[in-house]
Amino acid sequence: MLQFVLRRVIWLIPVIIVVSGVTFALMYRAPGGPWDLEKPLPPATVARLNEKFGLDKATWLDRDAVQVKVDEGVRNPIVLGGALLDTQFFNYLSRVFRGDLGPTYASQGTETVQQVIRNKFPISLRLGLVAVTFAVLVGIPLGVISAMRQNSFIDYACMFLSTLGIAVPTFVSGLVLLIILSQRFGISPIRRPEEWHSFFSTAYILPGIVLGLGTTAYITRLTRSSVLEIKEQDFVRTARAKGLSRSPVTLQHILRNALLPVITILGPAAADLITGSIIIETIFGAPGLGSLFVTSIGKRDYSTLVGITIFYASLIAIANILVDISYGILDPRIRTTR
């Protein structure tokens, strides 16, 4: 088990390197530089900013610097390697592993990306927590009810609703809900910015639920099909035969086993919630990381875009590891096979 966890954690390193490399490369070749503002900066300022943030260095590998050192008579491979790798990308990469995602271009270097993430992420996290809580609290009971009353009206209704939840993208359901609330009931779900900063703000309820609709639908379906499968197994029949009444059998024997597959969906769900939060935060005006990502597109703030992508990629990877570990703890059968 420990070995398995260690292997998965070490696997994070190449993942972060590749994610950083690819997004860095894509942003490096994107049009417009970091200091392109509406009012052009004087060239001297640009040069100073470039020097301050190491943007005057070579991009990937600095062969010229190695040549200079070799001409000076340096033969130490460590020194030569250091000169070769003293470039924008490798400096960035080494800073990423120290938790430094660099300055945001929009602030011209007065603020770092990790500071911005620290400020904005709690808002996205709260939204995500509301979404997951809603999905689990609604999805699991619905799934159990429809499985226990298979082919009843309730079952069909739940299945139809969950198909809707899976098929209709959250940004369509979010916008439609926004229309209904503001046009029909005159309630504006758009809140003032300061309302988002208290932990138990009602502002989170509606966007959180909309964000969680898709996950709710998946959990409902998965719970239903896995309860249906477990319901027919021998140990459940034995428990019933021994005279246990319906509810303890449902709760102790069926649910405990049926919920295992639901845990595996929480990894992909994390990725979905992150994707969804970008849209939901934009629609509902929540000042979280998702809407920051969108405004950074408009501002061409590439360092923020790269930083958030790396942050979210590691977050998804960690979520997947946690899911695997908890699955291993809860289901002894797979411990040996992995």
Binding site: W11, V18, V168, A271, L305, I316
Partner: protein, 352 residues
Amino acid sequence: MTFQEPIAEQMLESPPLAGIDAPAELSGVPGDLAALTIGVRGKPRSLWSDAWRRFRKNRIALLGLAWLFFLVFVAIFAPVIATNNPVKSDVATAGTLRQAAWIEDPNPMRTGSWKYPLGTDSIGRDVFSRLVYGTRVSLIVGFIPMLVILAVGVPFGLIAGYTGGRIDNLMMRITDVVYAFPALLLAIVMQISFGDTRVGGLLNGLVLLFLSLSIVNWTGVARLVRGTTLSLREKEYVEAARASGAPHARIVFKHIFPNTLGAIIVAGAFVIPSAIISEAVLSYLGVGLRPSVNLNSPFPTSWGQMILDGSKFYQAQLWMLLGPALAIASITLAFTFVGDGLRDALDPRQSD
């Protein structure tokens, strides 16, 4: 929603299309009984005719399929169906945001007219005609990435699964790394990065969209096919083929690939709606399709772009937002119905 979940769900419980060498099980009749009836009739049914029979009984899937055919028809005959040119702005209504045809408005300029069934947008373009043309983008943006994803994912999974060993390990590590990318974030970054290049300009940026939407998502198909191939490789009939000296290529193409087709089709059906949604999201964020000002453009706008426009003015002109929103909901719902139907038909053990 991405398509990864149905696949994850499938991999989880995945006995991959194990019914093929036992058609009796697929027909839903208990084994020996079916064998008997088949013996009597003397005419074995193929997997595909069996699947089609099951699909035909699924009314909701048929409804979805009918709606999709209707949308394909609309996309092809858009120039005939559209009431106006989708790009041309009517100077007389520009800026007034004319309401949908059946809505009365105190302002005579904004009262609906059947000349513009769903009203006009902020610069006086016909919303209905734009909606009709938008069908083209949604359909093509669903189908082509699906083909790209299958074209990359299927051979990748087949090779990894059939070869096994170190090569399989290496290939799966590659998919793990690619899978770690948050798909939508990478697509956004791709769109920004290549938006102004020559590729980015082809067909208003459609070609770039095809790439951005498939760059991560092929991993799901690759994993699915690899998993299926791994278990098929150990089947007796494959062993028999190998023992009788069949070359690897023949085993893969004749014995393994056809048996993964069912799972591939189902996965493909779920890729399409997720690609459609991603395109809409990208366009909604302003990094998707480029708005066209060319009067003859075959792909002048997409529903995602219309939602972006509509969300700015929904209080004044509701249908600017509601029209494209309902259109996207209807197309993804139809694909999901068809996808569910295909899964039930091709892979009965997977169905709920």
